[in-house]
């Protein structure tokens, strides 16, 4: 492991902006929920009523996890139930970025040719990530104690967040050894995260109902950390289980590393056809080959999400019959209309934001192709810049549409009312396109800052997560295109904002393409 120290410093230097950013933002998120609950609940009775209603609500259980008690601390932990998923995502992306992606770019050859040991690179990547997650947990613990919450619960809460990150850092350590490319490794790790989430959702929804599928949550790493139950049971047994899993995954990753060559993967690439099929003869045909895996992954994921959301909607409709006050709670949290309408408006909004990640990912492929030299080959043939970029752009715009339609249609079908739910999902698309077009604009005009497009999604995500609770000023909320799309089915359809968003997206993309046609490639 010689050289781990200097590699660790190198990683921390390269990530000096991104790493502190997610550690701080996600670490402070519980404070936002704490503050908003303190302002929403005028009396203890309010809080107890809210907790009573929420605990028996399958929809809430699905989104945030199970609410086990009614103290303020437990409510905050529960409301921050989606944050562990985000921490897991950040952790696995960081690990893969500094292991597999480095190897793919060929920088590892250079580094390993120096006096650095075989394990130094993955060890340094894991260390940087685990340190980041540890700091994140400490921020949670410290800020909760300062806010006057019990110490033991706050430590457990911090551990919940830290372990979420560590678990998926471990998953990434294994995934990074399996494939020969960063893209594939990322897909495997994200898939594990997605399955963990769906298993946890299934277990928690069942727990609210007949409890027969409770055990599903025990199959999910996200379920384990949730079972720590900070401020309630403060149960350290599941934490020990999670820690054991971290140790095992890291050890397995290390063992796999010894069994493969640099730049190779354990899942060996199989030989393919010696000749190109008829489809592979245009920029569009090439784009299809490059994008189809990603498209299939997103559509499958969104289809699964649709099934889960639709199922949760069904049980919500039943429970809403029992208690009128659920609607009050929703109204306080910024929703409107009946319970399920508000629920589907929320899920559509979440899906819209999440699918923007895909839109940007697909658009940034243009920049990737340019940076790794592939664009130079294609453009040296009789292919214009516009048609080269258009191939990728098509997937950036239509890919999210296919995913959203799959999600909306399946959610609607499961719920038993396709039209409104599908409409809610499709209504998000103009906002998704605006974010995709921001990426195109950056690629065309400020290519070096293309990755800043991720910042746009991050801002929109933060506004969605905390905006309504914080009662931020109007103009801040208006910065997100998602604020403007009609919140179907809770609100009625209005065409004007949709048309304006489509016009903005068109203008941004056109400006980006014009820039791309005028500038050097590669730039």
């Amino acid at each position: 492991m010689t050289g781990t120290g200097s590699l660790l410093r190198l990683i921390l230097r390269r990530d000096r902006v991104v790493l502190p950013l997610w550690v701080l933002l996600l670490g402070l998120l519980p404070q936002v929920y704490l503050a908003s609950f303190q302002s929403v609940f005028a009396t203890d009775a309010d809080r107890l009523e809210y907790a009573r209603v929420s605990a028996s609500n399958a929809g809430f259980a699905g989104l945030y996890g199970r609410l086990s008690g009614d103290s303020l601390g437990e409510l905050v932990v529960w409301r921050a139930g989606f944050v562990p998923v985000m921490i897991g995502l950040a952790a696995l992306l960081t690990v893969i970025r500094h292991t597999r992606a480095e190897e793919e770019a060929g920088r590892s050859d250079l580094i390993r040719a120096t006096v650095v040991g075989r394990w130094a690179q993955p060890a340094a990547a894991l260390l940087a990530t685990t340190l980041g997650c540890l700091v994140l947990g400490l921020i949670v613990t410290a800020s909760m104690i300062v806010a006057g919450e019990p110490a033991e619960g706050s430590v457990a809460f911090g551990a919940l967040f830290t372990l979420s990150g560590w678990l998926f850092a471990g998953v990434a350590a294994i995934a990074a050894q399996l494939t020969s490319g960063a893209r594939g490794a990322r897909m495997i790790a994200v898939l594990v995260l997605g399955v963990s989430y769906v298993l946890r959702v299934g277990g928690d929804i069942s727990a609210v109902g007949d409890g027969r599928l409770d055990w599903l949550a025990w199959l999910s790493p996200l379920g384990w950390v949730q079972k720590i139950s900070p401020y309630g049971a403060d149960d350290w047994a599941p934490a020990a289980l999670a820690l054991l899993a971290v140790v095992v995954t890291v050890a397995v990753g290390g063992h796999l590393l010894t069994r493969r060559d640099l730049a190779a993967g354990l899942l060996a690439a199989r030989p393919g056809p010696p000749r190109a099929g008829a489809g592979l003869s245009s920029p569009l045909g090439l784009a299809w080959r490059l994008h189809r895996g990603l498209l299939a992954g997103w559509v499958a994921g969104f289809a699964a999400l649709g099934l889960v959301f639709g199922g949760v909607g069904t049980s919500m409709a039943q429970i809403a019959e029992d208690s009128r006050s659920v609607s009050d709670v929703f109204n306080k949290l910024g929703g409107a209309g009946t319970v399920t309408d508000a629920y589907f408006a929320t899920t559509a909004g979440i899906c819209g934001l999440v699918v923007s990640i895909y839109a940007i990912q697909a658009a940034l492929r243009i920049r990737d192709e340019e940076q790794n030299g592939h664009a130079e080959l294609v453009l040296s043939a009789a292919v214009g810049r516009a048609s080269w970029a258009a191939g990728h752009l098509l997937f950036a715009l239509l890919g999210p549409a296919v995913a959203m339609v799959a999600e909306g249609a399946l959610a609607g079908a499961t719920f038993g009312d396709v039209g409104p739910v599908l409409a809610a999902s499709t209504a998000q698309l103009p906002a998704v396109w605006v974010l995709g077009a921001v990426a195109v604009l950056l690629i065309g005009v400020l290519p070096r800052f293309s990755a800043a497009a991720w910042g746009a999604v991050a801002v929109c995500l933060l506004l969605l997560l905390v905006g309504p609770l914080l009662e931020l000023p109007r103009w801040v909320l208006d910065a997100s295109p998602f604020t403007h799309v009609p919140q179907l089915p809770a609100a009625s359809f209005t065409a004007v904002p949709e048309i304006v968003l489509i016009l903005i997206a068109t203008a941004l993309a056109a400006a980006g393409l014009a820039g791309l046609r005028r500038r050097d490639v590669p730039a």
Binding site: R270, G272, E376
Partner: protein, 297 residues
């Protein structure tokens, strides 16, 4: 004689770095033109401008019969390019890449494709990531050579090829040359390759062309090294302009001499009486070293 490439006073800046600083490059139709220069001299940048990938900041350039920037797509049907550092899409096989690039250029000759794959001993079924550097280079070369185009732009095409494959490359280019209608611009650091293939060459340094002509023209510009044993005392050799680094010691002289001072220098030696004489023609290496050293980059 028509020209496939005519660039004059090309300027290209990247921020504060001036990559091309008034480059002149003339390539005649049907010739193999060597394009040489030390690392960072601007060869790749010049080729990217010829391909319309980059925009020039000054000067003029014609490629075939058009403007490489404004008419890129039309001109690209008539040329093929092999980049210096080839990377492919990880999920595509070498065979697929060859076909794809050929089709994007407007078609390739399937018989020639198969023939080249065999000659270069390429396994076209492997995926992009699993090829070695040399094999990636072969894929790009086959894709370019199998296309029926007028102009080949090759940027260090043999870097990474083993000597056997390098030999195959030379044979193929020789054959292309004998067809007489294909123009090749060959950027290279391998002098033997340049000597074997190129009709004419251009040497650039710091973004400027420093020499251009046939190899013989360039040889003419360099000095011959002479060593002689004399029978009598010698006089006046040092005063001939064009004689350099003269040393004399007990009846022996050694000096370098420019091509146009060779005759007076030899006359002086003969006048003194020559017992033995060794003359060394300028080697290609020396020629290049002279042009390469002193580079600021």
């Amino acid at each position: 004689m028509t020209e496939a490439i005519a660039a004059e006073g090309l300027v290209k800046r990247f921020g504060k770095v001036t990559a091309l600083d008034g480059l002149d490059l003339r390539v005649r139709t049907g010739e193999v033109h060597g394009f040489l220069g030390p690392n960072g001299a601007g060869k790749t940048t010049a080729i990217r401008i010829l391909l319309g990938l980059m925009r020039r900041d000054g000067g003029s350039v014609r490629l075939l019969d058009g403007d490489p920037w404004a008419e890129a797509t039309r001109l690209h049907k008539r040329l093929a390019y092999v980049p210096g550092d080839v990377t492919f899409w990880p999920t595509l096989t070498g065979g697929e890449v060859i076909d794809l690039l050929g089709r994007l250029r407007g078609g390739l000759d399937p018989r020639r494709r198969d023939d080249l794959i065999e000659r270069f001993q390429l396994d076209p079924r492997k995926k992009g990531r699993t090829y070695s550097k040399g094999n990636r280079q072969k894929v790009a070369l086959i894709a370019a050579l199998a296309s029926d185009v007028e102009l080949l732009l090759l940027d260090e095409p043999t870097s990474g090829l083993d000597p056997l494959m390098e030999e195959v490359f030379r044979e193929v280019i020789q054959q292309e040359k004998s067809r007489g209608d294909r123009t090749v611009l060959l950027s290279s650091h391998i002098l033997a390759e340049v000597e074997a293939l190129c009709d004419r060459l251009t040497i650039i340094r710091d973004g400027r062309s420093v020499e251009t002509g046939t190899l013989d023209d360039l040889r003419h510009l360099t000095r011959t090294t002479i060593r002689a044993e004399l029978t009598g005392p010698i006089d006046g050799l040092g005063t001939i302009s064009g004689v350099h680094d003269l040393t004399t010691a007990d009846g022996r002289v050694a000096f370098d001499v420019d091509a146009d001072a060779l005759e007076p220098a030899l006359r002086t030696l003969v006048t003194a009486g020559v017992r033995s004489l060794v003359s060394q023609p300028p080697s290609l290496e020396e020629l290049f070293l002279r042009h390469y050293t002193g580079s600021e980059r």
